[in-house]
Amino acid sequence: MTTAQTSDSVQGGMAAGDRRRYAFAFVGRYGTLLGMVLMIAVFSIAAPDAFPTLSNATNILNQASLTAIIAGGLTVALIVGEMDLSIGYVASFSGVLVTGFMVDQGVPWPLAILTVLVIGASIGAVSGLVITKLRVNSVIATLGVGTVVVGINYAYAGGVPVASGVPKAFLDIALGRWVVGIPNNIIFMFVTLALVWVLINRTDLGQRIQAVGGNPEAARLSGIRVDRIKILALVVTGISSAITGILLASLIGSGTTSAADGYLLMSFAGCYLGSATLRDGEFHIVGTFIGVLIVAIGFNGLAILGAPTFWQYVFQGAILILAVGLSTVARRFSKA
């Protein structure tokens, strides 16, 4: 009954309108990948000695790694249907806290990391509570929570970087190469993304997160506690922000007040580019990874070609607009 029903009518000529729709759908799904290939080709021709090398590839992945981790968490919030604009601030705060705990409070580094992860999770929980219990729009809620976090950040460190006296063991986390020649951050990126992928696609929590994002009312009437799921999703986002902040602090060897703020835009660009990749405007982890990679390749290529700094901003802004635009178009054509 379930198989034979509709297979008889699939073959046959295709009408012009359909062909156009398929063309759009194809561009929607694979356009970003084509764009990535194109970028790689252009940069390879323009800088044949510097760009297409193994060491530069490692370099790109390394540069992408922290963005990918925070974007992986952001993807969870976006799947559940909420924005999180606090991620950059939470990451910066986490970097300041983790170094501060070690340097000023003398907390052993593993405990410092654990504490900061818990704090990151708690900030996500607070955002989730504001969104679900006070019914504040998530853009406003996370902007507010993020700004408060900036305030606490200043209150804690006075805006001065925590630099000297960071234990070497902590620095080794991001700078080390525990697996033959591969920078640790790349490993962390793949591990985090794999974990988030499993969470979303292979756990009951993940099914619920997808259900809530797809149709909150249907999810509620299916017995799912929508508020709780949303809060948990934002907790995941908070934890991933904290991970990025900690790894950044380890990488640069200090906790700097606004060091990670810039990850906000890059991860949004990555997530939205990803939502238009392989799927019709639906957020997913593999897409997010590809999206983040595209952004990283762009930055890397521009830097190798010696483009002035302002171009990097233009690129960043343009790619964000392009990403959201593509995602929206993909969604529209999937419905048409």
Binding site: Q5, T6, S9, R202, D204
Partner: protein, 531 residues
């Protein structure tokens, strides 16, 4: 499916007389010839013909997926046909968009009405029309007069200047018709107009439709309710699998003939199964349950294995009562007893955890995650058993697919695969997915709100069979339906609600359409919607 792929289209009215409009009679307002439309691999319309005369009420029926909506969207300019022609007043036209369709007199009222909730009746009726203005400000005087005239023509007795969201669905329908009239409509297509109307309101609508007909306006009346079609329509066209399978004049119309054409075979009328087992334990009981003025002092008992119908006019408080039981709303007064123990639901998740299932009225917006596939939706309500081991939160997708397949088979869900997104299924199959979601839970109580609304005859019979099978397995089922034909034959017992109260109870053979209607109307006129 196989036999209907191509070939000549049988279009003869069953009296044998092919009625060829234009051959002597009045020229048809609308002539559709050989219209075809394909979506991806699905041929939604396979060369259909249709004539609509000025002033006639033309019924269009067919199972879900038969091509009715596609035809309407082609006429409305939402899609372009792949082949075939549309002729209006003898002029071939290519309808480019809904604006254009409206410009040549074709207007469409969809089930969901497309009104702006915060706008009043006048603003909604004139939405999108060029408006006279002075110094950039709209001069409402002439518009208001125009709207008043249309309202009078429709016998609208509600204020035109309050937001339409505060009006009943019936009045919103009048506004939608008014919107078409202000645009000088010559054909108004109506999709399931009575789906949300009470019998009384529907009667009022029919009268308006007949009056429009005598003014020369043609109505294309799309409905699953064959009694209405028989009652109202001058001619009827039946689609099946994208082909016109029947085209009959009023004289040639029989309900049995229509059903045969729609289904392609006879559907045995459901008959009452037997005496309800009143000896079985009461699973759910309410005592003096109330909320505001919508649910008042409702006391009922639901036995295990029983199908209990909740009948009444729209606005009688049936869905509201269901929401109280499912914990979606809180009761002001009274108590709920589950297995004899008092219980105050903390929310849907609480009702859910105690084995109460709820199949909401709006399956697309409340019952399904449309973009997700059949397996995802079916398994959503019960994910725990999909884990590899109880303590490991990882779920097995193959286990999910296996369970979804079992349930799809049991409910005869027609989907290519369990990985097909439910948005691609027909309404009847979507509803079966919603029911299937609860089968995984083995609920003790299942509340079904309008389970077969907008579903074709065949799927309805299958849904009814599923409900009965569930009951036979010990589930206490509550079925809410606005279609009085639906409850006899399905229910062991029916409670008729009027204005939030239980006005009467019918058991077994007492359950008839007439008895339900009598009880519904027993308590005076104001029983319908205005809240």
């Amino acid at each position: 499916m196989i036999d209907s792929v191509s070939g000549p289209i049988p279009t003869v009215g069953r009296d044998g007389a092919t009625r060829e409009p234009g051959g002597g009679g009045p020229a048809p307002l609308l002539q559709v010839r050989g219209l075809s439309k394909r979506f991806g691999g699905v041929r939604a319309l396979k060369g259909v013909d249709l004539d609509i005369l000025a002033g006639e009420v033309h019924g269009l029926v067919g199972a879900n997926g038969a091509g009715k909506s596609t035809l309407i969207r082609l006429l409305a300019g939402v899609y372009r046909p792949d082949a075939g022609s549309i002729v209006v007043d003898g002029e071939p036209v290519t309808i480019v968009d809904p604006q254009h369709a409206s410009g040549i007199g074709l207007n469409f009222i969809h089930q969901e009405l497309n009104l702006v909730p915060k706008f009043n009746a006048i603003e909604n009726m004139t939405l999108g029309l060029p408006k006279a203005s002075r110094l950039g400000l709209i001069t409402w005087g002439p518009i208001r007069r125009q709207a008043d005239e249309v309202a009078r023509r429709l016998g609208a007795d509600f204020p035109l200047d309050i937001p339409v969201e505060d009006l009943s669905v019936a009045n919103q329908w009048l506004i939608s018709i008014g919107r078409a009239l202000i645009r000088k409509a010559r054909l108004i297509a109506m999709d399931e107009p009575t789906a949300s109307l009470s019998a009384e309101e529907a009667g009022r609508l029919f009268q308006i439709i007949r009056e429009l007909g005598s003014d020369g306006i043609a109505i294309l009346y799309v409905s699953h309710r064959l009694d209405e079609i028989m009652d109202l329509c001058d001619r009827v066209t039946v689609f099946k699998d994208g082909v016109r399978v029947l085209h009959a004049d009023r004289a040639a119309m029989t309900k049995g003939g229509l059903v045969r054409a729609i289904v392609g075979s006879d559907v045995a009328p459901a008959s009452w199964a037997g005496a309800p087992d009143q000896g079985s334990p009461v699973v759910l009981e309410t005592r003096h349950l109330g909320r505001g003025s919508v649910v008042r002092d409702v006391s009922l008992q639901l036995h295990a294995g029983e199908v209990l119908g909740l009948a009444g006019l729209v606005g009688a408080g049936r869905s509201e009562l269901a929401r109280l039981i499912f914990g979606a709303d809180r009761a002001d007064t009274g108590t709920i007893l589950l297995d004899g123990a008092p219980w105050r639901p903390a929310g849907p998740h609480d009702a859910f955890a105690r084995g109460i299932g709820f199949i909401p009225e709006e399956r697309r917006s409340q019952g399904l995650i449309l973009q997700k596939d059949v397996s995802f939706n079916i398994n959503l309500a019960d994910l725990q058993p999909l884990r590899y081991a109880p303590a490991i939160p990882l779920i097995s997708l193959s286990r999910a697919a296996r369970r979804a397949k079992e349930i799809a088979q049991e409910l005869q869900i027609k989907a290519p695969r369990v990985t097909t997104p439910v948005i691609e299924l027909s309404g009847g199959n979507q509803q079966k997915v919603v029911i299937g979601k609860w089968l995984t839970r083995h609920p003790r109580v299942l509340i079904l709100d309008e389970p077969s609304r907008g579903v074709d005859v065949g799927a309805r019979a299958e849904i009814h069979r599923s409900i009965k099978e569930l009951a036979a397995g010990g589930v206490g089922a509550i079925v809410i339906s606005s279609e009085v034909e639906e409850l006899p034959g399905l229910c062991d017992r029916v409670l008729v609600m009027v204005e939030g109260r239980v006005a009467g109870e019918l058991t077994g053979r007492e359950i008839t359409k007439e008895a339900i209607l009598q009880l519904s109307y027993a308590h005076g006129q104001g029983a319908s919607t205005e809240s």
